[in-house]
Symmetry: C2
């Protein structure tokens, strides 16, 4: 029996947030470079030990090639019983199954599970219950100390020798590093992994050097084709069109649809179709939006360029057009998971939303939604930002 | 006798950094605007009480008109025995003398003292010793919890209704808000004071909404003429030219003067003259710099424009040309006091400096320097970033 103490509101209310990074800092002295000769060297230097918690982000999505490299070395070093806290699990995390079976990993925290890992977990390969939180909930857990990350392994598109890093520059661009910013801020040790070391000082500074312990250069951090797709959908399924039409019907008949409204949607065909229809309505009624929030897609950057929306607040850039936009457009802003959706801050961005469009696997007639588990009992989805957006927005 | 426990390295080494902002957050609920109807209302809402610590920044320099407005109301509310932690004290803080005499303020922490306030303190109007730290030292003290700020009052050039703020937009521009960023990050309550409320979401986001409790609009936050001067010096004193010549003589004869070197200097005539001469040497030897650090002046932005330096890392924009540059040039970066000079981070920017040029009131033949106290025993200067730069740079 695993003794899981659930989220204790009272305790969190009165506790202080902890930023544990300074513990041994003065002993490090002054360094002129943080580049480790190898990933193995960096892992040894962090002091990673049995039973600790490590973290990853999922900005490189299915194209991530760092998670497996890191776990292979941890296994080689015979470190066991680790908890992995990830902003989400993608196909790139299927390799975790092997390391769970070997006892290297015995705990998982994330926002969802799918694919082979989801199946394996659903079938019970992990003895401890997986802890799944929303994107904002994960930021809250890390900031409050509920999730204490000993070592964060953060893949970045570029870094200088001191650890100033971003997702903008290099062969493996991802745009916003929003989810990783919280790990960088609060983890005890931070290791950056990149295939692109640039001249000091690197900018924009998404992750600042003052939060970084080690920088490791590897041959390849990802498969660019799987990191972001340039897919622009000219055709939609009939179902997607119908859903989009219903979304727009609701929006245009609610009082929040006026100048300065705000909107969040997802990545699927229905979302893309609804954006096209929303644009049509906005032009027709001469209405402009103040901001679009969350994971950003190319269709939203078009509206930014055309002046139909004032700002994009981007926690994750979903496609190549979004990545290009965040590089070039000063009104396309990178935000952290905490800024995005952490309800335990002094008001996060989701709390300013008018419209949140969310997908669900099952919805009952009282609007209770399941976004996680298939009808067959297998975990096949992600909580994502759903509860945060549903709480924050005027119309969900 | 005031029992002053001096900076305890051992204790700081092993303690955890504390970010105390979440204490009562969930009770606040979801807010659609943080604008208080008045400064008085905001101060009451913060729960400010006798014996607490409040903070100010000095980015508005001699032109700041918020400090006096705030202290007047605090006095009216009969709150006593406060400690003021400020990033520095300027002429705008001369008004503190009255409130010290009234017992409203009984403790001061800053980086220096000068003018009337310096004289009054030197003559003993404050019973507790003033605590003066370097700019990096103040950031360290705040992050470690050694200085616990109950309420930070931060003047900003612009803010939206949720507290996304910067020093870039409005009538009272100051450019970088570097020193204030640490207060915003760690103070228990944060009150922004501005004369310029802009549409949500404001950007660039120097201070993010998730760190802000209240936003107050006042008629005027400052006297633009005293905030930043547009002064470009065509003439220099003979003494300044001689000092500048000596600076350049040293620089060009040290091995660090090569492509990619870095440099920090101050605001005086000698600094401006030395920059002109440095530029001459750089052109002559075809040498380009990687970054200039610290308080940034117009002459440095010229070198940025001309491609002679790659980046400016700006904790405080000293003149109008610097303010214009940070607004427009993506290679002119706003950095926090912690990024700038906090030695208890995982390496701050001063640690990457090749050359640090610092002024001093007195230097002995063993290079021990006094930057604080005049020969008459009166405090008339500021520690500023001096110890941080001296420790970090290869040549001081």
């Amino acid at each position: 029996n695993y003794n899981y103490s659930s989220y204790d509101t009272e305790k969190t209310n009165t506790s202080k947030r902890i930023c544990p990074q300074s513990k041994n800092l003065p002993n490090e002295g002054k360094r002129n470079s943080k580049i480790s000769i190898s990933l193995e060297e960096a892992i040894i230097q962090t002091g990673l030990k049995d039973g600790m918690t490590i973290s990853f982000h999922h900005h490189f999505r299915h194209g991530d090639q760092t998670v497996e490299q890191i776990l292979k070395i941890i296994d080689k070093l015979k470190i066991k019983n680790l908890t992995v806290s990830a902003s989400s699990f993608t196909n790139a995390h299927d390799c975790l199954i092997d390391y769970i079976n070997k006892g290297v990993i015995t705990g998982l925290e994330g926002s969802g599970l799918r694919g082979k890992l989801g199946d394996a977990i659903s079938e019970g390969i992990l003895t401890k219950p997986v802890i799944l939180r929303s994107h904002g909930g994960r930021a809250r857990a890390i900031e409050s100390g509920e999730t204490y990350i000993n070592v964060a392994f953060l893949a970045v598109a570029s870094s200088d020798e001191m650890g100033n890093a971003n997702g903008y520059i290099g062969l493996s661009c991802v745009g916003s590093l929003g989810y990783a910013l919280v790990d960088a801020q609060y983890a005890e040790k931070v290791v950056l992994i990149t295939d692109n070391i640039v001249l000091y000082p690197n900018s924009p500074i998404s992750i600042p050097q003052i939060k970084v312990d080690y920088v490791v250069k590897v041959d390849k951090i990802g498969d660019a084709l799987k990191i972001a797709s340039g897919e622009i959908r000219p055709f939609f399924q009939y179902k997607e069109i119908k859903i989009a039409q219903n979304i727009i019907k609701i929006i245009k008949n609610t009082p929040y649809f006026k100048n300065g409204f705000s909107f969040q949607t997802g990545t699927g065909g229905a979302s893309q179709a609804s954006l096209l229809m929303l644009k049509e309505q906005m032009l027709k009624q001469n209405i402009k939006a103040s901001f679009f929030l969350g994971g950003i897609i190319g269709a939203q950057t078009e509206l930014l360029k055309e002046g139909l929306v004032q700002k994009l607040l981007d926690v994750q850039s979903f496609d190549l057009a979004a990545i290009e936009s965040i590089k070039q457009n000063i009104n396309h802003l990178e935000i952290s998971a905490s800024f995005y959706a952490n309800a335990h801050t002094k008001d996060c961005a989701t709390n300013k939303l008018d419209y949140g469009v969310l997908s669900a696997l099952e919805v009952d007639i009282n609007f209770n939604s399941n976004v996680l588990t298939g009808a067959n009992g297998y975990i096949r989805g992600a909580i994502g930002g759903h509860p945060d957006v549903a709480y924050g927005s005027e119309v969900t």
